[in-house]
């Protein structure tokens, strides 16, 4: 790859310029860049009419400034460390045939473009913007519409994807790729993007040490965020709503999930958050509202679920029998059809200090902790788990009767599925 050459070249270039103007080498780098690096303007009435032509001329450190208009130039490859800046929303059109922008150099900035209609072939995953094996690529403030994949990073490092709007209006899943797709990368920052209508909003596979912050991912066909084999990442303060299947975090450890909102993910296989084969992670201060299942856990170990809100979900948490040593504490469970359910009889997870709005106990010593333990697992939830069509009888008299008697004399629900110290008041979150 030509990754190192442009850098040395640009240094040499800078030195020669410095000499020409009689300035010393230590002169401000910024000043030099601002005043000396060339800017090539593209657009009607500007020196260049073709973006490709401008990029051809440009050298590392230069800026290609593209003005408003539609540019259908097929596949544009950026193999130099340049800034590609759009003014007045120039449109880059892939004509449903090409990958629109391919970045194959470090230190590239792409901002201010509308990028649309990439090709659809599934063989080489054509994208709106694809970054190949590069570092320090910033993709900031673009609009990507109806591309197969929106932004695609592979073998990349230290890249920033920020404030982009990524939308696809396709309907067939095979014709729609992911919004932001990251593969085998490291130290990425995905910040403040809005993604909708794609297969997965944000897709992470083998991505490490990265952060996903303040994104909105909604109405995607499959997952708002799809996370696999990606250790030691954090996603913070994102908003995932109305995605076909919610958010999936799988085969990963060391994930931090803070302050996100998972809302209105409805459907037979829809989850606020699907956890599969996850361990040593921390779920803190999130909101799960109006999902079929707030959190669905399978093969999940040593996870702390703390101070989250579970509200208006069909199931607050579904904890499969394969989960161990998870600690669920200080959460608020409010207005869920079922707060918790499980398919097993052995429970190896602990509940403490949660607030359950169905709790009917009392607090005589006024320590804000209920004096009798709470069993969040209702008999009916166990029945439904075994035989889903029994949902038919939800809220019927017989179910109320069964639940009541089970609460008094537990026989069929696991003994140790219990919060010994339920909180009397909702935890202020």
């Amino acid at each position: 790859m030509d990754g190192t050459f442009p850098l040395i070249e640009s240094m040499r270039y800078l030195i020669s310029i410095s000499f020409r103007f009689g300035l010393i080498l230590l002169h401000s780098f910024v000043f030099v860049q601002l005043t000396i690096a060339a800017t090539y303007s593209v657009g009607t009435g500007y020196p260049f009419t073709s973006i490709k032509a401008a990029i051809d001329i440009a050298t590392a450190g230069d800026t290609v400034m593209v003005y408003g208009g539609v540019y259908a130039e097929g596949n544009i490859i950026i193999a130099k460390s340049i800034s590609l800046i759009g003014r007045d929303w120039p449109v880059l059109d892939g004509q449903h045939k090409y990958e629109v922008l391919s970045v194959k150099a470090d230190h590239v900035l792409i901002t201010g473009f509308k990028i649309q209609f990439s090709g659809h072939a599934s063989l080489d995953d054509p994208c709106g913007i694809k970054v190949y094996d590069s570092q320090y690529v910033d993709i900031i403030g673009n609009e990507l519409n109806d591309n197969f994949f929106g932004i695609y990073l592979q073998y990349s490092k230290d890249c920033i994807i920020r404030d982009n709007k990524i939308h696809s209006s396709g309907t067939e899943e095979q014709q729609i790729g992911n919004g932001i797709h990251c593969w085998k990368s490291d130290s990425l920052q995905i910040i403040g993007n809005t993604i909708s209508g794609h297969r997965d909003g944000i897709y992470f596979e083998f991505v490490k040490n990265s952060v996903i912050w303040r994104n909105i991912s909604h109405d995607n066909i499959r997952y708002g965020l799809h996370f696999m084999f990606s250790n030691d990442d954090a996603y913070i303060t994102n908003y995932f709503h109305h995605n076909g299947a919610g958010v999936a975090v799988m085969f990963t450890n060391g994930v931090k999930m803070f302050n996100n909102t998972f809302k209105d993910n409805w459907g037979d296989a829809a989850y606020g958050l699907l956890l599969k084969e996850i361990s040593d992670s921390y779920i803190f201060n999130n909101k799960f509202i109006g999902n079929t299942s707030g959190i669905f856990m399978e093969g999940t170990n040593r996870i702390q679920v703390e101070k989250n809100i579970f509200k208006d979900n069909g199931w607050g948490m579904k904890i499969q029998a394969s989960c161990m040593d998870n600690e669920i504490s200080r959460n608020n469970f409010v207005r869920n059809t079922f707060d918790v359910s499980t398919n097993g009889t052995l429970v190896l997870n602990t509940f403490d200090h949660n607030y359950w709005d169905e709790y009917e106990g009392y607090d005589l010593n006024k320590d804000s902790i209920g004096d009798i333990p709470y069993r969040p697992l209702s008999l009916f939830s166990v029945i439904v788990e075994k035989n889903p069509p029994t949902m038919l009888l939800y809220r019927s008299f017989i179910v109320t009767l069964l639940d009541r008697s089970e609460k008094m004399i537990p026989t069929l629900t696991p003994d140790n599925f219990i919060d010994e110290v339920p909180s009397m008041q909702a935890i202020p979150l």
């Binding site: 037979d268 979900n313 069909g314 029945i383 035989n387 939800y394 809220r395 008299f397 017989i398």
Partner: protein, 256 residues
């Protein structure tokens, strides 16, 4: 002519102590449910349970007892120049209107005040339909048994069957046939119980997320669409009409 009978019966029943108590009971329950629950949807669910228990019970038992107690009065009406079917219709409408009015006053007013438009509407329609259905079943009980104690016994059994035993049977069947795809069959089965039908109708308005399991999806596909809703509504209407028509047929031929 029959609307005159109905009018007088209505006045009579509205002053009846049991009916007044029923109205007050509904009012107390509804007001307390809505003022204790800060969330109206949860209030609706709590009220749903109450309504689906008490309304059928009161409707069927009160109707049955009222008809038995009116035996001599019905005889007097029969000696008047009126068609039998009109007497029966007058009694039915009188009972249905008065119990329906009780429901509207007791539960309807708080529902309208606390619940959002569409849900409130469905809840009221279901309450009224359930009232009509169990008044109608009360007519059937009365005509099937000459003896008062036996008639009331049948009424209580019918109520027990529709609100508890039927669902127990459904639960049993669901587990017996757990290995077969019987969800669609269960949609049909549920139509055999008006209380279940009404319950599902109202729940589809509320806890959509919970119902969206596979079973829920089937129900939503069926009852959530315009055609299904109309079909369900018509089924409930049939439940109100058919027992009454059978009882009317028997009443016309009955010796008193």
């Amino acid at each position: 002519m029959f609307n005159k009978i109905q009018k007088f019966i209505l006045f009579d029943i509205l002053k009846n102590r049991i009916v007044i108590a029923y109205t007050l009971l509904l009012a107390v329950l509804a007001w307390s449910v809505f003022s204790l629950e800060d969330d109206s949807n949860k209030g609706v669910l709590t009220l749903l349970n109450i309504v689906l228990l008490t309304t059928p019970l009161v409707s069927i038992i009160f109707t049955t007892i009222y008809l038995y107690n009116s035996a001599e009065f019905i005889e007097l009406l029969l000696s008047q120049p009126v068609r039998r079917s009109k007497i029966w219709a007058g009694l039915f409408l009188g009972l249905f209107f008065s119990l329906g009015l009780s429901f509207m006053i007791g539960a309807g007013i708080p529902i309208l005040l606390f619940v959002a438009g569409r849900t409130a509407f469905i809840l009221l329609v279901m309450g009224i339909l359930i009232t009509a259905i169990f008044v109608s079943l009360g007519f059937l009980c009365t005509i099937l048994a000459r003896d008062k104690a036996r008639g009331i016994g049948i009424a209580i059994l019918l109520w027990l069957y529709f609100s508890l035993l039927f669902d127990g049977l459904v639960l049993f069947l669901l587990f017996q046939f757990a290995d077969y795809p019987i969800e669609k069959v269960m949609v049909v089965v549920s139509a055999l119980n008006p209380i279940d039908l009404a319950r599902i109708f109202i729940i589809l308005q509320l806890d959509v997320s919970a119902m969206l399991g596979y079973t829920g999806a089937i129900f939503k596909d069926f009852f959530g669409t315009g055609l299904g809703a109309v079909l369900g509504f018509l089924l409930l209407c049939l439940w109100a009409v058919i027992p009454y028509l059978i009882s009317r047929r028997l009443f016309i031929r009955k010796d008193l």
